[in-house]
Symmetry: C2
Subunit: 279 residues, 2 copies
């Protein structure tokens, strides 16, 4: 048995790589960067990698909508874990530079550091890139006085200096990542379960009725989101995260009851909830 | 009185520009492209532009999370309209090219055309850019056999040819845009209202109870989404869209009732719902 191959949304130096390192700390694994989420997730389906780590909520590398769509359309995939990390954006540049004509980063990272940039570098042009790591790569490759907003890992990888640390406007900002695999995780007593379901369209109270199945059993929902189903906007899939494991008696009963109310239903996975352990 | 200045998420040639043209068709206006959503929305607050058009759901130019956050934090802004457009991705290239080493676009657009690319151009490298229009610009500026996935407007603007039309994998994919302004819109009889609220944390059934205020009055929710509030994940703001205008008697009563259950409450706007008129 060799080390597990774990795929992550690359390139090297993204927050997703940090999340992988954090989740699999102490395990025998090596990380494989992927350029996009569909290729990454299909690699799990195809058995090329054991599992995949992708950003979920409040991500700086892009929306996870594509992840949710793929969890619905691909057979045999499960969410097997989650990681929550504080967002730490740093200002990166080539050695010795202290004033910048241009600041590059992913649009979400630029937005999260907007107050800092406007205060400290009011004349700098903000330029959007496809990822924070791509911004670091461009700054490293270019001779101009440019800076990137990105991670410490990206700075190390592209030979940049961390000019100013923790430049995000809200210190308590966090990003949630999910681990996607194929093997169900047994109950630990501190679990979460992710579900997807569709209800009869345009009937007032359909969602209220479904949520009642959880509320009546004292089950807490930690997330609810309606997303347009592929047909067109107006037809929705609901994504819900709730406390507990699908094998827990009460949750199993709630799941059965919601299933009976649904035109579409899928359990996306039960997995240990992140307890804020330090990486 | 001159023409209204309408800001939109640029650059020229994005889907958002199309949405603006569609929404304001027949009106006296001119469009001003902005590089990022925060600058665009703050320009409405500052009175530099009359209103702003930004992508909302299933967007190809990036998530609207930042829009929702700004609607909460900025005073005096309202959603004053919506536009829903079918997603139309075209393969764009310089004149006469038919085989491509690289295909560039926004990661969401690449994901939405993945089946097409893998089938027709299996050896092409997929490269992520900050927007679909930026992909067109890069393809236009570069001498290599590259193609972009983007709009007809981007093709025209950057002097590219539409090589293959409608290359998205799902023909019925749509994108929703919202118009943000400062003036309330009077009832039309065919309206939607967008709300944001927070409930007491971690109490099972809190959301179920709030949704009951709508269900009991026969009010249909067209969207519900929980988003982490700025504090940290685990504390949520709910974003809900419902049918009706805030001045409608039943909806006004439901709004008052939900407000009483909330630790935070804000009406984001009442506006005519998009009826699928053709642009």
């Amino acid at each position: 048995m060799g080390a597990d191959k774990i795929g992550y949304l690359g390139p090297i130096g993204t927050f997703t790589e940090q999340a992988m390192a954090c989740f699999f700390a102490g395990k025998d694994f090596f990380g494989v960067p992927y350029g996009d989420i569909p290729a990454l997730i299909r690699s799990v389906s195809d058995g090329h990698i054991t599992c995949a780590v992708v950003p979920a909520e409040n991500s700086v590398e892009g929306s996870v909508n594509v992840t949710l769509d793929l969890l619905l359309s691909e057979e045999g995939l499960l969410i097997t874990g989650e990681v929550v990390l504080p967002v730490m954006h740093h200002l990166l540049a080539r050695q010795g530079l202290r004033s910048f004509k241009k600041i590059l980063s992913h649009p979400h990272a630029l937005a999260q550091c907007r107050g800092f940039i406007d205060r400290r570098f009011p004349t700098a042009v903000k330029e959007a890139t496809a990822s924070t790591a791509e911004a670091a790569r461009l700054v490293s490759a270019c001779g101009e006085p440019w800076a990137a907003i990105g991670t410490e890992e990206a700075a190390a990888h592209y030979g940049l200096e961390v000019v100013i640390r923790a430049v995000q406007d809200y210190a308590d900002n966090e990003t949630r990542f999910v681990v996607i695999g194929t093997q169900p995780v047994p109950p630990t007593g501190r679990d979460k379960t992710s579900l997807a379901f569709s209800l009869v369209h345009d009937r007032p109270g359909a969602l209220h009725g479904a949520l009642g199945e959880f509320a009546d059993r004292g089950i807490n929902l930690t997330k609810i989101e309606s997303r347009p189903a592929r047909r067109s906007i107006g037809y929705y899939v609901f994504f819900a995260d709730c406390e507990g494991h699908r094998e827990d008696e009460l949750l199993a009963a709630a799941i059965e009851a919601v299933k009976r109310r649904s035109t579409y239903f899928k359990i996306l996975g039960s997995y240990p909830r992140w307890e804020g352990r330090r990486c």
